[in-house]
């Protein structure tokens, strides 16, 4: 395990030049990949939610949970499994309606799904019958803006290192590539807020490390707000500006830790280890 840790340490420091060089080669594009849509705010106050499980019993998932996200910050949500993290994300993107509480995005209540609030799913959740290219194009086509914005797709494919796989189908590519494709599919929409539902949980350590850097890169470029639900404490400390800890079901706020370490973060630095310890203690 120490060896793996050692290998990962070299990643953030050495990856940056490559990331930037890709960015430079992309910049001459005639139109921007991401447009500045201003500052966005998500306010969730006192959210309560229940859902029916497979046997028809009612499960109390969220209890008086509050969270607000403003501007380009990455907020992590961490907590024991089944504590309502994913339930909260479903409310944020508008897939479900809360039982009670206030949920507003840019001052308007969240009532239905909207391309501005996008989501990156567990295991990528790609459409198997579409090629990688068409998976990324799906949102643009669905909103009938494909012709105006299709120039974004090749740029994203290059950024995500998917060149040569544009015409492959999801079952033909690796899990890491599927996750990259899922990222591109969400970010081609120029979203203001992106929710991540344990996006990297099924990946191996190396792929996960490189995907984490991709996520940071996308956040830097798009200036979108991000909410990342994860089980992985190290991932939370590596990616997030602050981490919200939830209690076991029904989930409500247990505490919050602000992580003000500069990027790229060193996974074995004292600051990193301290934050990690704090988070573990808070989780109990």
């Amino acid at each position: 395990m120490a060896e793996v840790g050692g290998a990962l340490v070299t990643t953030p420091a050495t990856i940056k030049p490559i990331v930037q060089s890709v960015g430079v080669s992309v910049q001459p594009a005639p139109q921007p990949l991401f447009e500045d849509t201003g500052n966005h705010t998500l306010i969730a106050e006192g959210l309560t939610q229940t859902f029916l499980d497979d046997t028809g019993g009612e499960v109390w998932a969220l209890d008086n949970f509050s969270l607000s996200v403003t501007g380009p910050e990455i907020v992590g949500i961490i907590g024991p499994s089944g504590c309502g993290k994913s339930t909260f994300l479903r409310l944020v993107v508008g897939l479900d309606d809360p039982l009670s509480g206030r949920l507003e995005f840019d001052g308007k209540p969240v009532e239905h799904t909207d391309y501005q609030r996008s989501m990156v799913f567990q295991n990528a959740n790609l459409f198997e019958w579409l090629t990688v290219y068409n998976n990324i194009a799906f949102g643009l086509k669905a909103r009938h803006i494909y012709k105006q914005q299709c120039y974004k797709i090749p740029i994203l494919i290059e950024m995500m290192g998917l060149e040569g796989f544009e015409h492959s189908y999801p079952p033909q590519i690796s899990g890491g590539m599927a996750s990259r494709c899922g990222l591109a599919r969400a970010f081609v929409q120029n979203p203001a807020l992106v929710c991540f539902d344990e996006p990297l949980s099924a990946l191996d350590a190396f792929t996960r490390a490189s995907l984490q850097d991709e996520i940071l890169k996308m956040q830097q470029k798009s200036q979108a707000s991000m909410i990342i639900v994860t089980h992985d404490i190290e991932e939370a400390v590596y990616l997030c500006d602050r981490v919200v800890v939830m209690t076991p079901r029904p989930g409500h706020n247990k505490g919050e830790i602000v992580i003000d370490l500069p990027h790229p973060r060193d996974r074995v630095s004292d600051g990193f280890v301290t934050k990690r310890k704090q988070l573990i203690e808070l989780l109990g």
């Binding site: 990856i15 198997e128 799906f138």
Partner: protein, 376 residues
Amino acid sequence: MSVRTNVDTGAGANVGMGIGTNAGSTSGNSTSVDSSSAKLAGLTRHRKAPTRKVREKRLATAREILRMLLPAVALCLSYALTTMLPDIYPEGYVMEYYPPFLLGVLGIYLLLMITAAFVAPLRAKLIHYSALIAAVFLLVEAGDLLTLKSGVMILPFSPSPDRVLGVFPKSAELLLVNLGASMMLLAEGVLIGLITGFITGTLMGWSKIANYWFAPLLKVIGPVPSAAWLPIAIALMPTSHLAGVFLISLAVWFPLSLLLSSSIRSTDKRKIEAARVLGASEAYILFHVALPAAIPDIFMALFMGLSSSFGALIISEQLGVKAGLGWYITWATTWGEYNKVFASVAIFIVIFYVLINLLFRIRDHVMKWQKSVVRW
């Protein structure tokens, strides 16, 4: 732990990602630190992958050549038997078509073998099917021995291969007219069944109201076999042709609407949610998520529908329709000309085989993203 080892591990882990992206890479333009970080990031570009040595081209082993010769041997044996043995039953019958047919097939097979010497896939196929082909022709020769050469199996029920083969040149015109009529009827019925099946299946899968009204109809009408509907269809429809179309379309409509509606209703919720989050409208989700996801089931339904439509075709032709291979079979039976019945059945076998095969070809083309579930 040294840096060197880290680099190796990183490269190893990203081999899968480098494939296909190494086209633009030039070797030796980066420092070791750069390349190690690049490999860790999974963005590049490793050295060219080793390629497998191209295996020497060889024709075939002796055993394979012997196997390939099996059908030729069987054909020669059949030819020898049928020409050398006297024609006994019925008295005075002169064999005309069977020996030239055998020689023709032998010629075609020899041509195939010569081609197979240069075309590897054909060679593999010939080797694989050679024993089967040989067995088929030996079986036909056994029929010849049991009928024409000995009279063990008697007329009119067991015509000799020569009599069956004779039907094709003798009644070619009649066969073609009836075949055309059958195919027209089948095409009309299948087309109408496809359209109505698609409409009701999609409606039932997507709308609860449509499901409320159509599902009971489907459950009541669907399982009843075509034969039971025939008298009613003939009574209700203005012409017997329309009755046939109705029966065939029913046979396609039932499995298609049933499987399509259940497939749409059970579309993976996660896919629908992904589409919704990406800003797709309900109609867009129906046509671009639910229907594409149902394609495997649609083809399964088409396979089932096409198979049962063949049954409906024969039944409707035997009672209702004035022309068609089914009608021809009934007509030949009443005259005791079983050689014509055998010939018609042979035509049906070929046609149905080709149609089902075509369907599976189309399916494999449409569903490149999925490995075939039902093999044909």
